[in-house]
């Protein structure tokens, strides 16, 4: 089990290559190597360095601590000086003697190292020395050179010719449109879109389609997925209790940046140093959340300093891997074994981030390096459970705030006009107000209560029996509350005790999403879910209307008990009367004023109009439904989310830690500096300390050979399944010399020269002939190039986890295309979070349109990611991941077969198929929706047979259509005959499970 036929391990690939190919690259890789090509001239980067690096540098490389016999082979002069070899004279060279030796005492690599050279490798070394032992500097550290042949196709074509190969034919138009949709926006084309494309014979139909998709706002969502993997974006903190903390605005920033085609250099600068930009915008400050997306801990008993160091190293790992494709992490404890990174480089790099205001331990023992009060300067900034947070109003990342504002205005002006019913209500209301005024009823009756400073103490009951007004005069119970913590949504509640005819009753009201089970234990009264989301760490004003409280009008109120859940504070309990308002709300000051005049009969016409308008718009009960719609719209603009705030404070001292040991204080203190061996190095002086902005600018310096190469290498993988250099996390000496170095360089050069234009880069790739080839492969070509490193065809690519979900939702028509916002919670097996604690967690799946949001919005619980995501090779994002290993397992089959999200999608698809007139048309429609093609006769016959058998099973009660159709919250039209619908849902399950459905060809 859990095995795939695709033997993807290094050992197997090595064996296979040896057996099949006359020559193979000694750099093993997960996806396999490029096939043999003519070996006329030895190329050090391609042929020799991998042998030396893989077998020799560990003991004879850059790390001076581990260097044996004072010999280093990575520097030619040093190697010659140490008599390792005599250029041009292989027979007199110690190296040749050693590698060919039969004596285990002399043999190199030493048998103890568990390394050995093949005959091929030995002979290559010999020939190389005989030919003069020419070194080249490492390809990825050389300047990017724009090759002479221009463009992807020219480069690929000339290489194919050298190998007596040619491009594969162009894929069919059906294949191309589905490929482009899935690759560029991560969604399938609709049958109508396919048809339009098939019928469009214009020369630029393909280019136009590309432009249209690049302009789609779903493009940013597709591009965000690998980026979020790289920057380890998640909804929880990861370590230990894995509590929630909101960072969704950052995710929306990434989507928006790709959609707006923000130049990659700007994108980089904003994430690493957005907060340091002059007059940083809110958006740029959100981007800087990047620095604080790392795992955090509030485990009891952790040592502050240790965790500061953990965060420090993690930032180096993530930044170096994401932007430079470098394994600088290896230099944490010792100089890098293979690349010229020193330990000092590692800590100097870390020092760039030393200004970030943070704690190591987000517990009582943790402390900031400086007083946080000094730095929280505006209304958008506050301190949460996990350090400084930024309040981000939703309009910042709203797709179309102008239209939303316009719509709100229109809807409100509709309400302002009133209606006959509203007029009646208004008259009645004015009468009520007059009576209340006569009785001198105040708007509020306050109850003295605050436990603001005792969040963890048990709550005290508060006596409200002194409230003197009848129910008929009462509008709402109001208070303010705050849930301890920061980041994430929480829950709290109140318990109300009241009496009817001398008998005492209790009722509890739960507010927020009750994800944390503690609340359930706090009251034995029946609980009612009474309000929307509550964000932790900030004060919320809560109003529970009398209708929501839902207690008998003859009841007398006795007492209130705050229910603190895991810990919350309460203050300012009050009961609001109807004076100056309704259950819906309370008049503004202006409205109050106008009401006063009306009641005193001193009102002018304008006062009358103002009061009426406000009443209709904000208070009338008859418009409560319309008002709920408006409130929802307002939430999308004026509601808040939160994101980790990067504050630049007094930098912490950064020392080189001997062997990475955080308790060892003996190392030298370092200041921010870039690695010294890369071009245009930058370094702080005592007078001039560099900061993250300097680092970001250095990273995107046009002369930096790694930044553009690392990015285009990964972008290529989005469109061919495999990067050009196979290990995107390591462009260093132990990485792979790419089979197409000139293609990688052309793309990198083009990318930088275009002004780091990402859409331009993508367009270059997807409009190329190379991209448009068929992914079908002949046996002969497969034999020559099983891993498609020569690009004489396209490669089939299995969809990423998120897009497998999106695809099913889109095919079925259930997809909610909303972009951005809070994370969503799809169905998830019960008990998936049972191993979590502090607090214990229960998971409630979304019961509204959020259920059908795209996979990238799935709540990302680092320690227990949604099983569908894990099964399809997404991961918890504890650390930077820039390549997902794709597996093919029985758990994937079980998920597609039985996950309620998939079954529900089948049900919804079935309903769409019901509209077709015949089974043939239904089967055809299912294929067109899922695969953008018509079924073959054989396929149609297979499905027809299955459909008939399923009809029979639902008819003869072997299957239960009602139980089957009740999976998921989506209710199909009851007009549909259940047996028919259920049988078509079975058919749809088959289609959604096809290998082709989850693969783009």
């Amino acid at each position: 089990m859990h095995s795939s036929i695709r033997k993807t391990t290094p050992t197997l690939v090595a064996l296979a290559s040896l057996a099949l190919l006359p020559w193979y690259s000694p750099v093993f890789s997960a996806e396999g190597t490029a096939p043999n090509e003519s070996l006329n001239a030895i190329d050090f980067n391609r042929d020799i360095r991998p042998i030396l690096s893989n077998n020799c540098y560990f003991c004879h490389g850059p790390d001076k601590e581990k260097r044996e016999a004072d010999l280093r082979l990575d520097v030619r002069e040093d190697a010659i000086e140490a008599f390792a070899f005599v250029p041009g004279n292989a027979d007199d060279s110690e190296l040749v003697f050693r590698v060919f030796s039969d004596d285990p005492k002399e043999l190199m690599p030493s048998p103890k190292s568990n390394k050995s050279l093949t005959e091929k490798e030995k002979n290559l070394l010999k020939r190389w020395i005989a030919e003069g032992a020419i070194y080249q500097s490492h390809w990825a550290y050389n300047p990017i050179e724009r090759p002479e042949s221009e463009g992807i196709d020219a480069i690929v074509s000339s290489r194919l010719q050298q190998n007596d190969l040619d491009f594969s034919p162009q894929a069919s138009k059906e294949t191309l449109i589905r490929r482009l949709y899935l690759d560029l926006i991560g969604l399938p084309p609709s049958p109508a879109e396919v048809e339009a494309f098939l019928n469009d014979d214009s020369i630029d139909a393909y280019d136009q389609l590309v432009d249209r998709l690049l302009a789609s706002n779903h493009y940013g969502e597709r591009m965000a997925i690998p980026w979020l993997d790289a920057v380890r974006y998640a909804d929880t903190v990861g370590y230990h209790g894995d509590q929630e903390r909101d960072a969704t605005p950052y995710r929306d920033y990434v989507i928006k940046a790709f959609n707006e085609n923000k130049p990659y250099d700007q994108f980089t600068i904003e994430q690493i140093a957005g907060d340091l930009l002059p007059n940083a915008t809110l958006e740029q400050r959100v981007a800087a959340s990047y620095n604080r997306l790392n795992q955090l801990s509030r485990e009891g008993g952790i040592q502050d300093k240790e965790y500061v160091k953990k965060y420090q190293s993690e930032r180096v790992r993530t930044t170096a891997t994401t932007w430079l494709g470098s394994t600088m992490a290896c230099a944490e404890c010792h100089d890098h074994k293979f690349d010229p990174f020193t330990t000092k480089d590692f800590y100097s790099f870390a020092a760039f981030f030393a200004d970030i205001l943070e704690k190591g331990a987000y517990t009582d023992v943790g402390s900031y390096q400086d007083s946080i009060e000094k730095y929280l300067t505006d209304e958008y900034e506050h301190e949460g459970w996990f350090g400084p947070e930024l309040t981000v109003p939703n309009y910042v990342f709203h797709q179309d705030p102008v239209s939303a504002r316009e719509e709100i205005k229109n809807l409100e002006s509709q309400l302002a006009k009133g209606s006959p019913e509203a007029e009646t209500e208004y008259k009645q209301w004015v009468k009520t107000q007059r009576n209340l005024a006569k009785r001198k009823t105040p708007t509020y009756v306050l109850f003295d209560y605050t436990d603001e400073y005792f969040e963890n103490a048990s709550a005290k009951r508060i006596d409200i029996s002194s409230y003197p007004y009848p129910f008929a005069d009462t509008a709402a119970l109001e208070f303010e509350a705050r849930i301890v913590g920061g980041g994430g949504r929480g829950s709290l509640g109140i318990e109300l005790t009241y009496e009817v005819d001398g008998e005492s009753f209790k009722k509890a009201y739960h507010l927020g999403d009750n994800f944390e089970k503690e609340l359930d234990k706090k009251s034995d009264a029946p609980a009612v879910q009474a309000s929307p989301l509550l964000y932790k760490g900030v004060w919320h004003s809560i109003s529970l209307a009398i209708d929501v409280l839902d207690i008998p009008p003859e009841a007398t109120l006795k007492s209130l008990l705050p229910l603190k859940g895991n810990a919350a504070s309460f203050r300012n309990f009050k009961l609001r009367t109807l004076a100056g308002g309704t259950q819906q709300g309370r008049l503004s000051d202006e409205g109050q004023n106008a009401l006063g005049k009306v009641l005193a009969k001193r009102a002018r016409k304008e006062d009358q109009a103002l009061l009426k308008t406000e009443f209709f718009t904000h208070l009338s009960e008859v418009f409560s439904k319309e008002r709920a719609t408006i409130d929802e719209l307002k939430e999308t603009l004026y509601g808040n989310r939160y994101t980790p705030l990067t504050v630049s404070a007094t930098p912490r001292e950064v020392k080189v830690l001997p062997r990475g040991n955080w308790m060892d204080e003996s190392g030298e203190t370092v200041l921010p500096a870039s690695p010294t061996f890369l071009p245009n190095p930058i370094a702080s002086t005592e007078q001039n300390r560099l900061d993250r902005l300097d680092l970001a600018n250095w990273i995107v310096d046009a002369d930096n050979p790694l930044t553009a190469r690392a990015f285009v290498n990964r972008v290529w993988a989005l469109y061919f399944g495999t990067p050009l250099s196979i290990a995107p996390e390591d462009l260093g000496l132990q990485g792979e010399y790419p089979p197409y170095p000139e293609l990688l360089d052309w793309l990198a050069a083009e990318f930088v020269e275009s002004g780091w234009d990402v859409k331009h880069l993508v367009k270059q790739i997807v409009t190329s002939r190379t991209y448009r080839q068929s992914s079908d492969v002949s046996d002969a070509l497969y034999e020559i190039d099983p891993y498609n490193r020569l690009l004489a065809r396209q490669s089939p690519v299995r969809l990423p986890a998120e897009i497998i979900r999106d695809n099913a939702l889109a095919i079925s028509g259930l997809l909610n295309p909303k972009i951005g916002g809070f994370s969503s919670r799809p169905y998830q097996p019960e008990g998936h979070y049972r191993n979590l604690n502090f607090p214990k967690r229960a998971y409630a799946h979304d019961k509204d349109a959020n259920q059908y949001r795209r996979g990238l919005y799935t709540h990302w619980q680092r320690t227990f990611l949604h099983p569908m995501m894990t099964t399809f090779d997404a991961n918890g994002r504890d650390e930077c991941v820039i390549k997902r290993d794709l597996s093919n397992t029985p758990l994937q089959a079980l998920t597609l077969l039985n996950d309620p999200s998939q079954v529900e999608a089948a049900k919804a698809l079935a309903e769409r198929l019901m509209e077709e007139a015949s089974d043939a048309a239904r089967i055809e429609s299912a294929y067109e929706r899922a695969l953008a093609r018509k079924p073959t006769a054989k396929e149609a016959a297979t499905l027809q047979g299955f459909l008939d058998r399923e009809r029979e099973r639902f008819r003869n009660e072997e299957n239960d259509p009602d139980a089957f159709l009740s999976i998921g919250i989506y209710d199909p039209d009851p007009e549909n005959p259940p047996i028919e619908l259920a049988a078509l849902a079975s058919l749809s399950r088959a289609v959604l499970n096809l290998h082709e459905t989850i693969t783009r060809y």
């Binding site: 568990n114 009891g300 008993g301 132990q734 008990g831 397992t889 309620p900 290998h995």
Partner: protein, 474 residues
């Protein structure tokens, strides 16, 4: 014959799928073993190993999550009794890491429970473990373990992966990578959790993650409630025959695709659907304790389906019988900062009998010799007291105890010591890497040669460390 039986026999008859693959059995093997058949030990009659003949086929790791006190289990320290309540000598604690006792007075705490001598070797074991003690001649206690991480989450990570950096493969994943599973229709690496006996520390799925190894090597958590494996149950209203027909339909269509496309992933997909369908019966069968006789249930002390550690131990035996390679049981109940007496009493009650039952049961079935059992936590506990009335102990990393039993283990061994206060490993200090090296050694794997290239480096479970603990081997 019912329609369902018809269907099943048809599935069994059909062989085109299997012919299209080498065989499901090969699929189940690890990446390395299948490639290294030539060097295997099968010809010599031992258990097939990757580098040398193996002593055991599988590992059962009984992880006592939270960190059991060595001073209340396997490491009796009379000096703590003598000095109970006194200041802990600074010579022990100066410059050392401290967890929750940071900024607290450090007072010596004597052992809470009595110890007695057991077995031929006379090893001292707490009176709270009468059942385990009765197996003293079967087990080898290591009293000189030490680790590097003083908090639960990173200490588990270190115990599982040999690294404190998240994202490295766990030992179960390494084992599966090297040897694969012996089961055709169950995951090769299975994890179960239970709680009870004090505050349950969270445990993360990263503890059984594949890290940079291919994701097919990650552990699969079996659920004690609902579907034992996620999504293993048919959708409501769908009969097994219907589901089988669906799987066959999908596979027929996938075969159709495979006939026209040179894409080896399709053949794999077809095999995985077959396997998934088999799992839909093998997993419920695995979880069905109804055929376990009463005396076996009594031996473990469990009720079927109660989700207890005892149930999980019985499940571990059932998994072992079915060829699962690496089985990990986490019992989340050993973190006793306060109320140690009450909670330790409770958790030892939950853990002692089933642990012993598992060893006995395997022995009765002749399986103990081919199984390695490891019992222990992610660290130990301080010789110093903590909490109200001093009724607790803090996390401790410089010395703690574990025990091993099964194939290749010299029963009745006590290996290594801590100092007289039970603070630091003194004789034969044993690193987590050493434990890993020993585990792999018993599986027939040379820990220095089980490597995977990532980020340009050949990574190992033991990093650049690790020595086989020869003193506990038979």
């Amino acid at each position: 014959m019912s329609q369902f039986q018809n269907y099943i026999s048809e599935i069994n008859r059909r062989s085109f799928l299997r012919k299209s693959l080498s065989s499901i059995g090969v699929l189940a093997l690890g990446d390395l073993l299948s490639a290294n058949d030539a060097s295997s030990a099968s010809a010599t009659g031992g258990i097939q190993g990757l580098h040398h003949p193996a002593k055991v086929k599988r590992i059962i790791h009984l992880c006592m999550a939270g960190g059991p006190s060595h001073l209340e289990t396997f490491d009796y320290k009379p000096a703590l009794e003598t000095h109970h309540g006194e200041e802990m000598p600074e010579s022990f604690t100066a410059g050392e890491q401290i967890a929750q006792l940071q900024n607290n007075a450090l007072k010596v705490k004597g052992p809470v429970y009595k110890f007695s001598r057991h077995g031929k070797s006379g090893m001292e074991i707490t009176d709270r473990f009468p059942h385990i003690a009765s197996l003293a001649d079967e087990i080898a206690v290591v009293r000189s373990m030490y680790t590097e991480q003083i908090n639960h989450d990173p200490a588990h990570t270190f115990m599982n992966t040999g690294s404190i950096i998240p994202g490295r493969p766990s030992m179960g994943a390494w084992t599966h990578y090297g040897l694969g599973s012996l089961s055709d229709d169950l995951p090769g690496y299975v994890v179960l959790t239970s709680e009870g006996g004090g505050q349950g520390q969270p445990i993360s799925a990263r503890q059984w993650h594949n890290g940079f190894l291919p994701s097919k090597h990650q552990g699969v958590e079996l659920q004690s409630k609902g579907d034992p494996v996620y999504y293993v149950g048919n959708p409501d209203g769908i009969s097994r025959g219907s589901q089988g027909d669906l799987v066959e339909t999908i596979n027929t269509l996938n075969s159709e695709l495979a006939a026209h496309r040179h894409d080896p992933e399709i053949a794999t997909r077809i095999a995985q659907y077959e396997l998934a369908f088999q799992m839909q019966s093998s997993v419920p069968d695995l979880a069905d304790f109804s055929k376990e006789p009463q005396h076996v249930l009594d031996l473990y002390g469990c009720q079927p389906g109660d989700g207890s550690y005892a149930s999980n131990c019985l499940m571990a035996r059932r998994l072992a019988e079915r060829g699962v390679r690496f089985i990990q049981l986490y019992h989340r109940g050993w973190d006793h900062h306060s109320n140690l007496n009450k909670n330790f009493t409770a958790v030892s009650e939950l853990a002692d009998k089933p642990t012993a039952a598992l060893i006995k049961d395997l022995k009765m079935r002749g399986m103990l010799d081919e199984t390695l059992i490891i019992w222990g936590g992610e660290f130990g506990r301080t010789p110093m007291s903590q909490g109200a009335g001093g009724d607790g102990r803090d996390h401790h990393i410089k010395g703690f105890s574990i025990f091993l039993a099964g194939g290749g283990i010299k029963g009745g061994t006590v290996y290594g010591t801590t100092d007289e206060f039970g603070y630091a490993a003194e004789e034969n200090p044993t690193a987590v890497h050493d434990l890993h090296a020993t585990m792999l050694h018993l599986l027939g794997i040379d820990h220095e040669r089980l490597t995977y290239k990532f980020q340009g480096r050949d990574f190992r479970l033991t990093d650049v460390h690790g020595h086989v603990i020869k003193g506990i081997l038979s």
